[in-house]
Amino acid sequence: MAMAPARRTTRGGIRKGEALSGWILSAPVLIALFVFLFLPILMTAWVSVSDYNGHGSPLSGKFSFVGADNYVAITSGGGLQEKIFGWSLRNTLWYVVLVVPIVTALSLFLAVIVNGRVLRGRGFFRTAFYFPSVTSSVAIIALWMFLFNASGVVNKMLSWIGIHGPVWFNDPQGIFTALLSGLGLKEAPAALANHGFLGVSWWSWIGGPSWAMTALMLQAIFCTSGTFMLLFIAGLQNLSPEVDEAAIVDGATAWQRFWHVTLPQLKPVLFTVVTLGIIGAWQMFDQVFSSTKGGPGNTTYTLAYRAYSASMIDGYWGQGMAVAFILFGIIILFTILQRFWLRDRPDMPRPPKKTKGVVPS
């Protein structure tokens, strides 16, 4: 840190060969990154523009470049491949839009509670909330299938308050569609039912996640909020109590202190949680793989599962890798966007207007 920058460029004396040592010492990581990260990405990119069919290595020279054919097949033409890709995109989008904010809010809420000084037995609750995160999500899904059975525990509990629960894992109806039909709108307006995007009608796009997907979303929320709670706790414990005390002296209420003092200071943690949440949500795979496998009515296909099923099960390797590559692009795009939204704006601590431009002493 304290080193003068000019020294780095000198090639002689005691610093001689430092650059080489640096390369050598970082080589294992660089090689690992290349072999396990960049190479697979490059291979995926190649397979997605080739006619690879699963026989032998994609680099064996037997396969030819087909341009954007695979991408065209899954995004146009009105065929089944386009339709399933459309459903996968729609389902994953709903999953991200609903799971990420809920998980973030819930884990922050849990962290604040567990971190509070008034709560007795904090250690117990911390462990209890974190426990689902260390349990295998496949094991929890197996449990979920029982809980959300049509005659299972969840529907039994709903029946106590007079609600006739859905057939969760077999019900392709979107929750908003169900809500609207409960309000009397049973038939889709023709404008929405007859037009659509990627082979899926607008009515289906706005219908929300199906009951099956909702059950999977609840499982994800249950499983991941503990991990993020831990990150928030770490963030909360890093905050200096003096700032909070100063706010108390200034007469701020508890809510004001949380909203205007604590939360802005947690922004780096918030960024981490939202980034990890978004990436994890877009990559949602294992729950679908171990339960519904895309059904009912295509409503639990996610992009990651579709990439797997198109290539491994159906033998459309190029199309599967095209889905994977589109997913890769989406994740990068969302991470950049969200970095942009949560960036440190120069006016972020909102200095009073009159002092704007004045360098604080």
Binding site: I24, H55, G56, K62, L80, K83, N170, G297
Partner: protein, 437 residues
């Protein structure tokens, strides 16, 4: 100086590591290097790694040990296959490794992609076309000495673009399964076993009371298709060159099913929160279901006290004929196997009548050979309708991409009660037609 030496060593080690890593990534090792010289005369020079011509041409031959990859239903199946493989090894002197797969499709695909697949493996008709197109399979069917003995419907399952790829291993057909107690409780006797669809509808109505539904089946083509076959059609022609989904016979078949759904004498398994017809039958939520011979294993395990009878599928009123769907499994041999000759000999051994009867006794599959059926029926008289059904059965479409189309069809069939069968079949027609190109 010492420091520099260390650096040199470090650099050398890293260069070595990079080289190893890259070598590990590239596919340069020819599959024949490990195989000892071929004893049989058929090999000239060609290893089996080239793409297109592997499905024909002379089989590879070597003393290389073989592997069998299969999706096992349980210990009984695994042990039976191990015993059969050991018996063959004793005869041939070629060691065989038997590997039950945990995720068959995926492990098979990984093997093909790596260039070192299992030599012999289970293959389902649904996986045939994609793998045959990719050049993963060796089409050895015509070399089987007992080729003519396999049931024609099964040979059709494993014939793609005119080539017979794999020996059928076993099959199951859909038949009507009846709960004896519920049957007699409704005042019905053996004389009332339905002969036609109308009979079926009538007894289903009689059997429906309380929480018991007359007939519960899976709401999917793989069950409802039996009615289409009985009506004289199916989604595709038998040789799978023509799409016939919109045939009026198919629409009529679905309309019949819809009429049974309408009066509640039939329900789909998912609608009463069960995974398949068998589960509803085990829980005695229905008096009848339409399932294959696999239900007997489930009954033995989960409902040993429920007595049931298997009766043949009722006949269609329009054609007067029975119809059902048949599901089979076969033995595939990899195009990349270094010892195809040995693999073929192993498959011949595994598909002999004696061996198939031994498998039937061990874990219940129906022999795929016509010469095995008589012995199977005398051994398992209760299963006779399943075995006999192959005479009037058809397979499900297996062209590349068909499984996705069937998945989409099943999504729509699940809502059959409130949909128009003709519209459902029209979309399937379009989707299957798109696959034929």
């Amino acid at each position: 100086m010492r420091k520099n030496l260390g650096k040199v060593w470090g650099a050398a080690a890293i260069t070595l590591a990079v080289t190893l890593a890259l070598a590990g990534c590239s596919k340069t090792t020819p599959s024949t290097t490990t195989a000892p010289p071929a004893p049989a005369p058929s090999t000239t020079a060609a290893p089996t790694t080239t793409a297109a011509p592997t499905t024909t041409g002379a089989p590879t031959s070597s003393a290389a040990p073989l592997t069998i990859l299969f999706g096992s239903s349980g210990d009984a199946e695994t042990n039976a296959i191990k015993a059969a493989a050991a018996a063959w090894t004793a005869k041939s002197g070629i060691p065989v490794t038997v590997t039950p797969a945990t995720n068959m499709d995926q492990e098979l695909a990984q093997g093909f992609a790596s260039g070192k697949p299992a030599d012999v493996f289970y293959i389902s008709p649904g996986a045939l076309a994609a793998n045959a197109d990719a050049g993963n399979l060796w089409a050895y069917g015509d070399m089987l000495p007992n080729k003519a003995d396999f049931y024609p419907a099964l040979v059709a399952d494993y014939t793609y673009k005119g080539k017979f790829y794999a020996a059928p291993k076993d099959y199951g057909t859909l038949q009507l399964i009846i709960n004896d107690d519920l049957w007699s409780k409704a005042g019905l006797t053996a004389a009332d076993y339905p002969k036609t669809w109308d009979d079926l509808h009538n007894v289903a109505k009689k059997l429906t009371s309380g929480n018991v539904t007359g007939l519960v089946i899976g709401g999917q083509y793989e069950r409802l298709g039996a009615f289409m076959v009985a009506n004289g059609s199916n989604l595709m022609s038998v040789d799978q060159t023509k799409v016939t989904a919109t045939d009026q016979s198919n629409v009529d078949a679905l309309n019949f099913a819809k009429s049974m759904l309408a009066d509640g004498s039939m329900k789909f398994a998912a609608d009463i929160s069960t995974g398949w017809g068998g589960e509803a039958f085990i829980k005695q939520l229905c008096a009848m279901t339409i399932e294959g011979n696999w239900i007997s294993g489930a009954m033995k395990a989960d409902a040993p006290n429920v007595k049931f009878t298997v009766v043949p599928m009722p006949a269609s009123p329009t054609t007067g004929k029975q119809g059902t769907l048949e599901f089979s499994n076969g033995w595939g041999i990899a195009a990349d196997s270094p010892n195809q000759q040995g693999a073929l000999s192993l498959v011949e051994f595994l598909t002999t009548t004696e061996q198939q009867i031994a498998f039937a006794k061990a874990f219940g599959p129906t022999p795929s050979l016509q010469s095995g059926t008589a012995q199977f029926n005398s051994e398992f008289p209760a299963m006779k309708p399943f075995a006999d059904g192959v005479a009037y059965a058809q397979g499900v479409p297996t062209i590349k991409g068909a499984s996705t189309v069937l998945g989409d069809l099943n999504n729509q069939l699940a809502q059959l009660a409130k949909s128009d069968p003709a519209a459902i079949l029209a979309s399937t027609q379009t989707e299957l037609q798109a696959l034929l190109g």
